[in-house]
């Protein structure tokens, strides 16, 4: 018997009971759609997290002072030494594999232009900040090494500040006042949007760190230093060198903890994405359970169907069907159910993922992997859950089957 005949027989049998065929398929459709949609939502979230961390700068390593501070008061000698200008210079000079470095000092201040004024955060950074933080300028230029050395009064505005003060006009070349001191605006940063916590990242003003320390904070230490490694591979090497250098400079004896923290963006990325990955797997697993239930539904219907169609099987055996023909017929029926359910489920899952991203603004990613997996899995479900009923059908005694009422 040709396989095309089996195919035809199975399709005819399914067509004979469209309601039952449809309902059985529905279990698989919902299961597969759930897997596709859930994995799409999960991997969308993962991609979003990864993107927002990458936004902080590529191959970036951040050194954060642990020196306990409260306001501007250092809390005793035991709490360690803060990051100093000398530390910064030493890092720049002695650590190999750096593409750039910037310290960071921060102050909240009032910024005014004409009659407009806003409260914002002033960041004192180096000339390499745009490179280290992967933050290009939209307009104008960033300050130079010369501006740092001379502590000139120049400023680069974040989008929010630029919009609030200049209301659409070009700020470059204009003079603003920060804490009553005049600064020349030399550039505007590209918009970055809100960060993961929902804080507006564009609400800031960049000035040379030397200017910020002298004129705004009055501090002599940095809260953090960001460096950029030449490549992702060099990050561990850079971290090791900095750790050694700073321990030596801060005279930390063997066995004592560091008085600074080194945060590696690569690690943060891994932690954050692995959290998202866990969520994806969890969502997928829950959806997988519904797929399994769909599969059991197929087995259930096929078993009922074998009993209900006992006479039909008897007739088929009487007119010359072999046991293998019957087995194959029921197996093909189960597979047609599960695979067409799978295909429809993939379409539905895709639609749901799209709807979610349109309706809730979540990023969803329907990966080819999850589509392929759902397809293969639904086919496997057909074989797995179809086999037992099919074998039961094939094992029927023709005389008994013909006599069955």
């Amino acid at each position: 018997m040709k396989f095309s005949a089996t195919w035809m027989i199975a399709l005819r049998a399914l067509r004979r009971n469209p309601m039952r065929t449809g309902l059985t398929m529905l279990g698989i459709i919902i299961g597969v759609a759930a897997v596709i949609a859930m994995v799409a939502i999960g991997s969308g979230a993962k991609a979003e997290v990864a993107a927002s961390i990458e936004q902080m700068g590529q191959n970036m390593v951040m050194i954060i002072s642990r020196a306990a501070r409260s306001g501007r008061v250092h809390m005793g000698g035991d709490s360690g030494v803060a990051l100093t200008k000398q530390d910064y210079d030493a890092i720049r000079q002695e650590v190999c594999g750096l593409a750039g470095a910037t310290p960071e000092v921060r102050a909240n201040a009032q910024v005014a232009y004409g009659n407009e004024n806003v409260n914002t955060t002033i960041y004192g950074v180096s000339e390499e900040y745009p490179a280290v933080r992967a933050w290009r300028l939209e307009r104008g230029e960033h300050f130079t090494g010369l501006d740092i050395r001379r502590a000139t009064k120049v400023a680069v505005l974040g989008q929010t500040v630029a919009a609030n003060l200049f209301d659409g006009g070009d700020p470059v070349g204009q003079m603003i006042r920060i804490q009553h001191a005049p600064y020349e605006v030399i550039g505007v940063l590209r918009p970055k949007g809100a960060n993961m916590m929902g804080r507006d990242q564009d609400d800031l003003v960049l000035v040379p760190w030397t200017s910020a320390m002298v004129r705004l904070t009055g501090e002599t230490t940095f809260r953090s230093i960001s460096v950029q490694a030449e490549s992702a591979e060099r990050i561990p090497e850079v971290v090791e060198q900095i750790t050694e250098l700073l321990r030596q400079r801060h005279r930390i004896p063997e066995g004592r903890d560091d008085d600074f923290m080194i945060r590696n963006m690569q690690d943060m990325l891994e932690v954050a994405t692995s959290t998202a990955q866990t969520m994806t797997v969890l969502l997928g697993a829950i959806a997988g359970v519904s797929l399994l239930v769909g599969g059991i539904g197929i087995m259930n219907i096929m078993l009922v169907s074998v009993t209900e169609r006992t006479r039909e099987i008897g007739v088929r055996l009487a007119v010359g069907a072999r046991g293998a023909d019957i087995l194959l017929q029921f197996l093909v029926e189960a597979m047609v159910l599960s695979i067409s359910g799978g295909v429809l489920g993939i379409a539905l899952g895709y639609a749901v993922a799209h709807l979610v991203s349109v309706r809730f603004g979540w990023i969803t990613l329907v990966s080819l992997d999850s589509v392929a997996l759902a397809f293969v899995f639904s086919g496997a479900i057909g074989i797995f859950f179809g086999f037992y009923p099919a074998r039961k059908a094939a094992g029927l005694d023709p005389i008994e089957a013909l006599r069955y009422e």
Binding site: K2, A5, I9, R16, V315, V319, G320, A321
Partner: protein, 253 residues
Amino acid sequence: MSEQPVIRLEALDKVYQTGEVAVHAVREVSLDVFPGEFVAVMGPSGSGKSTLMNLIGCLDRPTAGRYWLDGEEVGSLSPNELSRVRNQRLGFVFQGFNLLARTSALENVELPLLYSPQGHSRRELRRRSRVALERVGLGPWARHHPSQLSGGQQQRVAIARALINEPALLLADEPTGNLDTRTSIEIMAIIQQLNQKGMTILMVTHEPDIARYCRREVMMRDGRIVSDRPVVDRRDAAADLAARPEPDAEVPA
């Protein structure tokens, strides 16, 4: 007779073992049926006629004895070979018609072709099953489902299905058991006509009236053949039908 018999049974035995009790359904049955014969197997229920029918139909295997169908000994064949024998050499007609529900008459008739090892094109399937339906006078009902056909029409579909692979032997198990008298005679007219064209037919029935349309009558009791004689007062179904008053309109299709 030098001609090769279609059926040759030699001391066929069938014992069913149900727990401790052994039921001897068929005992040492020997029977030759030659091409063109039309045999009625008669007997009360429990006489073993259905078991014999199943053995001849290759649906069951004898416990002892030998069986040649159309010259081939089938007692020793594997299940798959038996399937082929049923498909190629036997045609079955059942009391309960046994058509596939929600399936057109045409597709029902096609069924044995789907399982035949040759493999036919769809066009060939259609053509042959249409011819078979026309032979039993159901050409216009090809697209109807069994539920849309009368009992007589359903049985005619079943006969068309039995004939589609041009079997050597037609086995009919109480083919008129579910039909009223007039429809029974109609079916017998078709079967008689087939026999006249040379088809060998073995029919199980418990109705003496129906057996009189056959040529030979085999009586069974307690698993044995107790009499085997030609039908003396043989009737012609077509003539009976013509002599009967017109029926109330047959159940509409």
